[in-house]
């Protein structure tokens, strides 16, 4: 399985949920598979997906899934220590680890060689860390969301991208409809 297959497999699980998605191919592929107002697409800023996701999870109560890549996490590796030391039980960090910088031509990352992001996350103090094969990602994500505790999932998949167009949506439109969904989910939560 490549990232696109993983995204397709988790699409039914993240439908209607708050998703912060990594820059480049991950956001573009998710946009094609499951565009929804509760997706925050990163159009720039390599490395900050997990930070945005954590900030959002700490600020409100609805579950947040941040879909990261191995290259992006390596860019901002210290994020794992911030996440570990400021746990948000409504936060799931899904690192789709294909061992390559997919958006720039599949150059290998160190996560595809000696570096284990799951081990780094554990060493940083993250308590619930799961490494799984791509095929198990949907099951692990479901389990993580049902657990009600912060989970880091490292999904090991193959390198490769699907040829999808760039996202032409205005960034303020992405933000506004995302915030609208955050508010709507928050109100629904308050009523229930």
């Amino acid at each position: 399985m490549i990232r696109y297959d993983v995204l397709k497999a988790i699409a039914p699980i993240v439908r209607g949920r708050l998703v912060v998605c990594n820059i480049g191919s991950p956001s573009q592929e998710l946009y094609e598979i499951l565009d929804q107002p509760s997706n925050f697409y990163m159009l720039g800023t390599m490395g900050l997906c997990s930070s945005i996701g954590l900030g959002l999870a700490l600020a409100q109560k609805s579950p947040v899934v941040a879909i990261e890549g191995d290259g992006s996490v390596l860019t901002n590796l210290a994020t794992l220590s911030t996440i570990a030391n400021n746990p948000a039980d409504n936060f799931t960090l899904l690192i789709i680890d294909n061992g390559s910088y997919g958006s720039t031509g599949d150059q290998p990352t160190y996560a595809g060689r000696k570096t284990s992001l799951a081990d780094v996350a554990r060493a940083c103090g993250c308590e619930s860390v799961v490494e799984c094969a791509a095929e198990q990602t949907a099951d692990e994500l479901e389990k993580a969301l049902a657990s009600g505790s912060m989970t880091i999932i490292v999904s090991k998949c193959e390198s490769g991208n699907v040829d999808v167009p760039v996202i032409g949506m205005d960034p303020c439109v992405i933000r506004e409809r995302f915030v609208g969904e955050i508010n709507r989910l928050g109100e629904a939560r308050a009523e229930s």
Binding site: G44, T45, G47, G55, A59, F178
Partner: protein, 168 residues
Amino acid sequence: MATLTDRRIVDCLVENGIGFATSVPCKQLAGVIELVENSKSILHVPSNKEDEGMGLCAGAYMGGIRSCIIMQNTALGVVVNSLATLIQFYRIPLPMLISYRGEIGEKVACQVEMALHTKAILNQLHIPAYHFRNVDQLEDLDSIIKHSYMCGKPVAILADAAFWRSAE
């Protein structure tokens, strides 16, 4: 140990509804960071690096909590991309309380190197910058923060060595 000036700064953040702060330490900001950490109104999440802090602030803001970053000017080079492609591109207001190291009164020569670029970087990014040289200028802090939220832009408050020396 926090000063009265530090307290005035943090009170102003709270009065403006800021409920989330991230910081990377600076000696001059130690009192402010201590008060933010102990504030019941502000969730303080320290960052390892300032660009990570920009991400945290963007997320918290979209989650409905006004956020701010407390940092040193030497890190402005680190955050240029985050400011341009996240904070400005998605139009996220962000007050940045910045210790302006390397100005008159600085004791560490190397700090001057980034001081020389500080205003140039902010100007290049079209970020409104307010240079505080004296504690009396604190009376403008409230309107500067309000300005950030009014226009949906980052603003920089540069508090230099003379400002911190004049702290009460």
